[in-house]
Symmetry: C2
Subunit: 174 residues, 2 copies
DNA sequence: CGGATATATTTCATTTATGAATTATTCAGA
DNA sequence: TCTGAATAATTCATAAATGAAATATATCCG
Protein backbone atom coordinates (compact mmCIF):
# COMPACT_ATOMS: atom_id res chain seq x y z
CA UNK A 1 0.00 0.00 0.00
CA UNK A 2 2.70 2.50 0.85
CA UNK A 3 5.50 1.61 -1.50
CA UNK A 4 5.14 2.63 -5.09
CA UNK A 5 7.39 -0.06 -6.47
CA UNK A 6 6.72 -3.18 -4.47
CA UNK A 7 6.84 -5.73 -7.24
CA UNK A 8 10.12 -4.68 -8.86
CA UNK A 9 12.23 -6.70 -6.46
CA UNK A 10 15.10 -5.04 -4.65
CA UNK A 11 14.29 -1.42 -5.37
CA UNK A 12 14.58 1.22 -8.00
CA UNK A 13 18.32 1.01 -8.26
CA UNK A 14 18.21 -2.44 -9.77
CA UNK A 15 16.62 -0.84 -12.79
CA UNK A 16 19.41 1.69 -13.00
CA UNK A 17 22.03 -1.03 -12.90
CA UNK A 18 20.28 -2.77 -15.72
CA UNK A 19 20.40 0.14 -18.07
CA UNK A 20 24.01 0.89 -17.19
CA UNK A 21 24.84 -2.68 -18.13
CA UNK A 22 23.14 -2.36 -21.51
CA UNK A 23 24.93 0.90 -22.17
CA UNK A 24 28.20 -0.71 -21.28
CA UNK A 25 27.61 -3.25 -24.00
CA UNK A 26 26.77 -0.57 -26.52
CA UNK A 27 29.62 1.82 -25.79
CA UNK A 28 33.11 0.37 -25.76
CA UNK A 29 35.15 1.94 -23.01
CA UNK A 30 32.12 3.06 -21.03
CA UNK A 31 33.31 3.55 -17.44
CA UNK A 32 30.36 1.69 -16.00
CA UNK A 33 31.69 1.38 -12.46
CA UNK A 34 32.27 5.08 -12.14
CA UNK A 35 28.93 5.86 -13.70
CA UNK A 36 27.20 3.49 -11.35
CA UNK A 37 28.90 5.11 -8.42
CA UNK A 38 27.87 8.55 -9.62
CA UNK A 39 24.27 7.41 -9.93
CA UNK A 40 24.38 5.87 -6.46
CA UNK A 41 25.67 9.07 -4.95
CA UNK A 42 22.88 11.02 -6.61
CA UNK A 43 20.23 8.63 -5.34
CA UNK A 44 21.51 8.51 -1.80
CA UNK A 45 21.74 12.28 -1.72
CA UNK A 46 18.18 12.66 -3.00
CA UNK A 47 16.91 10.29 -0.39
CA UNK A 48 18.61 11.97 2.47
CA UNK A 49 17.50 15.43 1.46
CA UNK A 50 13.94 14.25 0.80
CA UNK A 51 13.70 12.51 4.14
CA UNK A 52 15.21 15.29 6.16
CA UNK A 53 13.20 17.92 4.34
CA UNK A 54 10.05 16.09 5.31
CA UNK A 55 11.02 16.48 8.95
CA UNK A 56 12.40 20.00 8.66
CA UNK A 57 9.44 21.38 6.77
CA UNK A 58 7.32 21.03 9.88
CA UNK A 59 9.67 23.48 11.57
CA UNK A 60 9.95 25.99 8.75
CA UNK A 61 13.33 24.74 7.59
CA UNK A 62 14.87 22.78 4.78
CA UNK A 63 18.10 20.84 4.46
CA UNK A 64 20.22 23.79 3.41
CA UNK A 65 18.86 26.16 6.02
CA UNK A 66 19.33 23.51 8.65
CA UNK A 67 22.89 22.83 7.57
CA UNK A 68 23.63 26.53 7.76
CA UNK A 69 22.29 26.69 11.31
CA UNK A 70 24.28 23.62 12.29
CA UNK A 71 27.48 25.13 10.97
CA UNK A 72 26.94 28.15 13.19
CA UNK A 73 26.04 25.94 16.11
CA UNK A 74 29.31 24.09 15.66
CA UNK A 75 31.42 27.22 15.42
CA UNK A 76 33.05 28.74 18.47
CA UNK A 77 31.13 31.94 19.07
CA UNK A 78 28.31 30.59 16.89
CA UNK A 79 29.28 33.09 14.26
CA UNK A 80 30.56 32.72 10.72
CA UNK A 81 30.35 34.37 7.32
CA UNK A 82 28.37 33.72 4.14
CA UNK A 83 31.42 32.53 2.26
CA UNK A 84 32.22 29.95 4.90
CA UNK A 85 28.62 28.87 4.68
CA UNK A 86 28.84 28.66 0.95
CA UNK A 87 31.89 26.42 1.08
CA UNK A 88 30.51 24.27 3.83
CA UNK A 89 27.12 23.67 2.28
CA UNK A 90 28.21 23.65 -1.35
CA UNK A 91 25.59 26.26 -2.17
CA UNK A 92 26.43 29.23 -4.34
CA UNK A 93 26.80 32.60 -2.62
CA UNK A 94 23.61 33.97 -4.13
CA UNK A 95 21.64 31.17 -2.57
CA UNK A 96 23.29 31.69 0.79
CA UNK A 97 22.14 35.27 0.79
CA UNK A 98 18.57 34.20 0.19
CA UNK A 99 18.77 31.46 2.82
CA UNK A 100 20.09 33.92 5.36
CA UNK A 101 17.40 36.45 4.54
CA UNK A 102 14.87 33.84 5.49
CA UNK A 103 16.64 32.67 8.63
CA UNK A 104 16.82 36.30 9.64
CA UNK A 105 13.11 36.74 9.03
CA UNK A 106 12.51 33.73 11.24
CA UNK A 107 14.61 35.22 14.00
CA UNK A 108 17.02 32.29 13.97
CA UNK A 109 20.11 34.28 13.08
CA UNK A 110 21.39 37.86 13.23
CA UNK A 111 23.40 39.70 10.63
CA UNK A 112 26.11 42.16 11.60
CA UNK A 113 28.85 43.83 9.61
CA UNK A 114 32.21 42.31 10.47
CA UNK A 115 34.56 44.38 12.58
CA UNK A 116 37.83 43.18 11.07
CA UNK A 117 36.87 43.16 7.42
CA UNK A 118 34.10 45.40 6.33
CA UNK A 119 33.39 43.43 3.18
CA UNK A 120 32.28 40.64 5.42
CA UNK A 121 29.11 39.93 7.27
CA UNK A 122 28.91 38.05 10.54
CA UNK A 123 26.08 35.62 10.84
CA UNK A 124 25.23 34.78 14.41
CA UNK A 125 22.94 32.08 15.68
CA UNK A 126 20.33 33.51 18.06
CA UNK A 127 19.22 31.85 21.25
CA UNK A 128 16.01 30.98 19.47
CA UNK A 129 18.00 29.37 16.67
CA UNK A 130 19.87 27.28 19.18
CA UNK A 131 16.70 26.19 20.84
CA UNK A 132 15.18 25.14 17.55
CA UNK A 133 18.26 23.12 16.65
CA UNK A 134 18.27 21.33 19.94
CA UNK A 135 14.58 20.59 19.74
CA UNK A 136 15.00 19.16 16.27
CA UNK A 137 17.83 16.76 16.95
CA UNK A 138 15.91 13.63 17.95
CA UNK A 139 13.78 13.71 14.82
CA UNK A 140 16.82 14.12 12.62
CA UNK A 141 18.84 11.45 14.32
CA UNK A 142 15.99 9.18 13.44
CA UNK A 143 16.38 10.14 9.80
CA UNK A 144 20.10 9.44 9.84
CA UNK A 145 19.37 6.14 11.48
CA UNK A 146 16.80 5.30 8.86
CA UNK A 147 19.29 5.94 6.08
CA UNK A 148 22.65 5.04 7.56
CA UNK A 149 21.63 2.67 10.31
CA UNK A 150 22.49 -0.15 7.95
CA UNK A 151 26.20 0.57 8.43
CA UNK A 152 28.33 -0.68 11.27
CA UNK A 153 31.17 1.39 12.65
CA UNK A 154 33.76 -0.09 10.32
CA UNK A 155 31.64 0.54 7.26
CA UNK A 156 31.05 4.12 8.30
CA UNK A 157 34.76 4.68 8.71
CA UNK A 158 35.42 3.03 5.38
CA UNK A 159 32.87 5.13 3.54
CA UNK A 160 34.02 8.34 5.14
CA UNK A 161 37.60 7.64 4.28
CA UNK A 162 36.76 6.83 0.69
CA UNK A 163 34.39 9.70 0.00
CA UNK A 164 36.88 12.22 1.27
CA UNK A 165 39.18 11.34 -1.58
CA UNK A 166 37.33 12.83 -4.54
CA UNK A 167 36.78 16.05 -2.61
CA UNK A 168 40.45 16.45 -1.76
CA UNK A 169 41.28 15.82 -5.38
CA UNK A 170 38.86 18.38 -6.70
CA UNK A 171 39.87 20.98 -4.17
CA UNK A 172 43.40 20.72 -5.45
CA UNK A 173 42.63 20.87 -9.16
CA UNK A 174 40.02 23.61 -9.06
CA UNK B 1 49.37 10.03 -7.09
CA UNK B 2 48.67 13.67 -7.43
CA UNK B 3 46.22 14.47 -4.66
CA UNK B 4 47.06 16.55 -1.64
CA UNK B 5 45.45 14.19 0.79
CA UNK B 6 46.31 15.60 4.22
CA UNK B 7 43.19 15.64 6.34
CA UNK B 8 44.22 18.62 8.40
CA UNK B 9 44.70 20.48 5.22
CA UNK B 10 43.21 22.80 2.70
CA UNK B 11 40.03 21.23 1.38
CA UNK B 12 36.72 22.79 2.25
CA UNK B 13 35.63 19.60 3.92
CA UNK B 14 38.17 19.95 6.68
CA UNK B 15 36.15 22.92 7.88
CA UNK B 16 33.01 20.83 7.88
CA UNK B 17 34.66 18.14 9.95
CA UNK B 18 35.71 20.74 12.45
CA UNK B 19 32.23 22.03 13.10
CA UNK B 20 30.82 18.54 13.30
CA UNK B 21 33.39 17.81 15.99
CA UNK B 22 32.38 20.86 18.00
CA UNK B 23 28.74 19.95 17.69
CA UNK B 24 29.51 16.46 18.86
CA UNK B 25 30.93 17.91 22.03
CA UNK B 26 27.91 20.10 22.57
CA UNK B 27 25.23 17.52 21.89
CA UNK B 28 25.48 14.23 23.76
CA UNK B 29 24.49 11.38 21.51
CA UNK B 30 25.11 13.32 18.31
CA UNK B 31 25.62 10.74 15.56
CA UNK B 32 28.65 12.48 14.20
CA UNK B 33 29.82 9.69 11.90
CA UNK B 34 26.47 9.46 10.18
CA UNK B 35 26.23 13.22 9.92
CA UNK B 36 29.69 13.42 8.45
CA UNK B 37 28.80 10.79 5.92
CA UNK B 38 25.64 12.65 4.98
CA UNK B 39 27.60 15.84 4.47
CA UNK B 40 30.16 14.01 2.37
CA UNK B 41 27.49 12.57 0.13
CA UNK B 42 26.02 16.01 -0.37
CA UNK B 43 29.36 17.50 -1.27
CA UNK B 44 30.36 14.77 -3.68
CA UNK B 45 26.99 14.97 -5.35
CA UNK B 46 27.27 18.74 -5.74
CA UNK B 47 30.66 18.42 -7.28
CA UNK B 48 29.68 15.82 -9.77
CA UNK B 49 26.61 17.66 -10.90
CA UNK B 50 28.48 20.96 -11.10
CA UNK B 51 31.27 19.47 -13.16
CA UNK B 52 29.07 17.53 -15.52
CA UNK B 53 26.69 20.45 -15.93
CA UNK B 54 29.60 22.57 -17.04
CA UNK B 55 30.25 20.11 -19.85
CA UNK B 56 26.62 19.44 -20.70
CA UNK B 57 25.61 23.07 -20.83
CA UNK B 58 27.65 23.48 -23.99
CA UNK B 59 25.37 20.91 -25.62
CA UNK B 60 22.06 22.25 -24.37
CA UNK B 61 21.75 19.64 -21.63
CA UNK B 62 22.04 19.34 -17.90
CA UNK B 63 22.67 16.40 -15.60
CA UNK B 64 19.04 15.37 -15.29
CA UNK B 65 18.27 15.65 -18.98
CA UNK B 66 21.42 13.72 -19.76
CA UNK B 67 20.57 10.99 -17.30
CA UNK B 68 17.14 10.70 -18.84
CA UNK B 69 18.63 10.27 -22.29
CA UNK B 70 21.10 7.71 -20.99
CA UNK B 71 18.33 5.67 -19.43
CA UNK B 72 16.61 5.49 -22.80
CA UNK B 73 19.87 4.69 -24.52
CA UNK B 74 20.36 1.80 -22.14
CA UNK B 75 16.88 0.41 -22.58
CA UNK B 76 16.11 -2.25 -25.16
CA UNK B 77 14.05 -0.43 -27.80
CA UNK B 78 15.33 2.88 -26.43
CA UNK B 79 11.90 3.51 -25.04
CA UNK B 80 10.59 3.97 -21.52
CA UNK B 81 7.99 5.90 -19.56
CA UNK B 82 8.06 9.02 -17.40
CA UNK B 83 7.52 7.07 -14.21
CA UNK B 84 10.51 4.86 -14.92
CA UNK B 85 12.47 8.00 -15.58
CA UNK B 86 11.27 9.49 -12.34
CA UNK B 87 12.38 6.48 -10.36
CA UNK B 88 15.67 6.17 -12.14
CA UNK B 89 16.67 9.78 -11.82
CA UNK B 90 15.09 10.49 -8.46
CA UNK B 91 13.29 13.50 -9.91
CA UNK B 92 9.64 14.12 -9.16
CA UNK B 93 7.15 13.42 -11.94
CA UNK B 94 6.37 17.09 -12.49
CA UNK B 95 9.99 17.75 -13.23
CA UNK B 96 10.22 14.81 -15.60
CA UNK B 97 7.37 16.25 -17.62
CA UNK B 98 9.20 19.53 -17.94
CA UNK B 99 12.48 17.83 -18.79
CA UNK B 100 10.81 15.79 -21.48
CA UNK B 101 9.09 18.83 -22.93
CA UNK B 102 12.49 20.32 -23.45
CA UNK B 103 14.09 17.18 -24.85
CA UNK B 104 11.17 16.99 -27.24
CA UNK B 105 11.70 20.59 -28.29
CA UNK B 106 15.32 19.76 -28.95
CA UNK B 107 14.34 16.83 -31.10
CA UNK B 108 16.19 14.37 -28.88
CA UNK B 109 13.18 12.27 -27.95
CA UNK B 110 9.69 11.49 -29.20
CA UNK B 111 6.53 11.12 -27.18
CA UNK B 112 3.88 8.57 -28.08
CA UNK B 113 0.86 7.25 -26.21
CA UNK B 114 1.50 3.72 -25.00
CA UNK B 115 -0.30 0.91 -26.77
CA UNK B 116 -0.74 -1.43 -23.80
CA UNK B 117 -1.72 1.10 -21.16
CA UNK B 118 -3.28 4.29 -22.30
CA UNK B 119 -2.42 6.15 -19.13
CA UNK B 120 1.19 5.80 -20.10
CA UNK B 121 3.41 7.65 -22.48
CA UNK B 122 6.30 6.11 -24.36
CA UNK B 123 9.41 8.20 -24.54
CA UNK B 124 11.67 7.22 -27.39
CA UNK B 125 15.20 8.35 -28.05
CA UNK B 126 15.56 9.72 -31.57
CA UNK B 127 18.49 9.07 -33.85
CA UNK B 128 19.58 12.60 -33.16
CA UNK B 129 19.44 11.95 -29.43
CA UNK B 130 21.60 8.90 -29.87
CA UNK B 131 24.11 10.81 -31.89
CA UNK B 132 24.34 13.54 -29.27
CA UNK B 133 24.89 11.00 -26.51
CA UNK B 134 27.63 9.27 -28.40
CA UNK B 135 29.32 12.53 -29.24
CA UNK B 136 29.24 13.59 -25.61
CA UNK B 137 30.77 10.49 -24.07
CA UNK B 138 34.47 11.37 -24.18
CA UNK B 139 33.93 14.68 -22.42
CA UNK B 140 31.88 13.05 -19.70
CA UNK B 141 34.25 10.19 -19.16
CA UNK B 142 36.81 12.83 -18.45
CA UNK B 143 34.56 14.25 -15.76
CA UNK B 144 34.09 10.87 -14.14
CA UNK B 145 37.81 10.38 -14.27
CA UNK B 146 38.40 13.74 -12.68
CA UNK B 147 36.10 12.88 -9.79
CA UNK B 148 36.42 9.14 -9.39
CA UNK B 149 39.81 8.52 -10.94
CA UNK B 150 41.21 8.52 -7.42
CA UNK B 151 39.64 5.10 -6.82
CA UNK B 152 41.13 1.80 -7.82
CA UNK B 153 38.94 -1.10 -8.87
CA UNK B 154 38.66 -2.52 -5.37
CA UNK B 155 37.63 0.81 -3.90
CA UNK B 156 34.99 1.29 -6.57
CA UNK B 157 33.54 -2.13 -5.85
CA UNK B 158 33.63 -1.42 -2.13
CA UNK B 159 31.87 1.91 -2.47
CA UNK B 160 29.26 0.56 -4.81
CA UNK B 161 28.51 -2.31 -2.52
CA UNK B 162 28.20 -0.04 0.49
CA UNK B 163 26.12 2.70 -1.09
CA UNK B 164 23.60 0.22 -2.37
CA UNK B 165 22.68 -0.64 1.19
CA UNK B 166 20.85 2.51 2.27
CA UNK B 167 18.84 2.50 -0.94
CA UNK B 168 17.65 -1.05 -0.51
CA UNK B 169 16.71 -0.24 3.04
CA UNK B 170 14.74 2.83 2.13
CA UNK B 171 12.98 1.12 -0.72
CA UNK B 172 11.65 -1.39 1.71
CA UNK B 173 10.49 1.01 4.39
CA UNK B 174 8.93 3.60 2.11
C1' DC C 1 50.56 57.15 -2.15
C1' DG C 2 47.52 55.28 -5.83
C1' DG C 3 45.88 52.29 -9.40
C1' DA C 4 45.13 47.56 -10.53
C1' DT C 5 43.49 43.42 -8.84
C1' DA C 6 41.29 40.28 -5.72
C1' DT C 7 37.72 39.14 -2.34
C1' DA C 8 32.99 39.30 0.01
C1' DT C 9 28.39 39.97 -0.53
C1' DT C 10 24.26 41.23 -2.74
C1' DT C 11 20.79 42.04 -6.56
C1' DC C 12 18.18 40.55 -10.27
C1' DA C 13 16.71 37.79 -14.13
C1' DT C 14 16.33 33.20 -15.21
C1' DT C 15 16.50 28.25 -14.70
C1' DT C 16 15.31 24.24 -12.22
C1' DA C 17 12.50 21.55 -8.98
C1' DT C 18 8.58 20.70 -6.12
C1' DG C 19 3.61 20.14 -4.12
C1' DA C 20 -1.05 19.98 -4.84
C1' DA C 21 -4.71 19.54 -7.68
C1' DT C 22 -6.50 17.59 -12.17
C1' DT C 23 -7.46 14.38 -15.93
C1' DA C 24 -7.49 9.98 -17.76
C1' DT C 25 -7.15 5.18 -17.46
C1' DT C 26 -6.81 0.67 -15.27
C1' DC C 27 -7.78 -2.58 -11.79
C1' DA C 28 -9.93 -5.04 -7.98
C1' DG C 29 -13.83 -6.65 -5.73
C1' DA C 30 -18.86 -6.85 -4.49
C1' DT D 1 -21.27 -4.82 -14.59
C1' DC D 2 -20.45 -1.15 -11.72
C1' DT D 3 -18.03 1.51 -8.28
C1' DG D 4 -14.25 3.00 -5.72
C1' DA D 5 -9.34 2.79 -5.22
C1' DA D 6 -4.84 2.89 -7.41
C1' DT D 7 -1.77 4.43 -11.03
C1' DA D 8 0.23 7.58 -14.88
C1' DA D 9 0.96 11.82 -16.46
C1' DT D 10 0.22 16.64 -16.63
C1' DT D 11 -0.79 21.61 -15.23
C1' DC D 12 -0.06 25.49 -12.50
C1' DA D 13 1.53 28.23 -8.70
C1' DT D 14 5.42 28.54 -5.98
C1' DA D 15 9.94 27.47 -3.99
C1' DA D 16 14.79 26.86 -4.50
C1' DA D 17 19.11 27.54 -6.87
C1' DT D 18 22.09 29.58 -10.21
C1' DG D 19 24.85 32.98 -13.30
C1' DA D 20 26.18 37.34 -14.22
C1' DA D 21 26.54 41.90 -13.07
C1' DA D 22 26.91 45.37 -9.45
C1' DT D 23 28.78 47.24 -5.07
C1' DA D 24 31.95 47.78 -1.56
C1' DT D 25 36.13 46.90 0.68
C1' DA D 26 40.77 45.06 1.05
C1' DT D 27 45.33 43.98 -0.66
C1' DC D 28 49.23 44.04 -3.59
C1' DC D 29 52.90 46.39 -5.58
C1' DG D 30 54.84 49.95 -8.60
Amino acid sequence: MRNAEGDGGSGSFAEVERYIEVTRQRLPGYPHERVKLARLVTHVQKRQSDLSNAVLKRHGLNYVKYTALMMMYGTPGRTLTPSTLSEGTGEKPANITRICDELLQQGLIERHPSAEDRRRVDLHLTREGERLIEKLQPELWQVWDEIYGCFNAAELRQLTRLLRKPLARLDASG
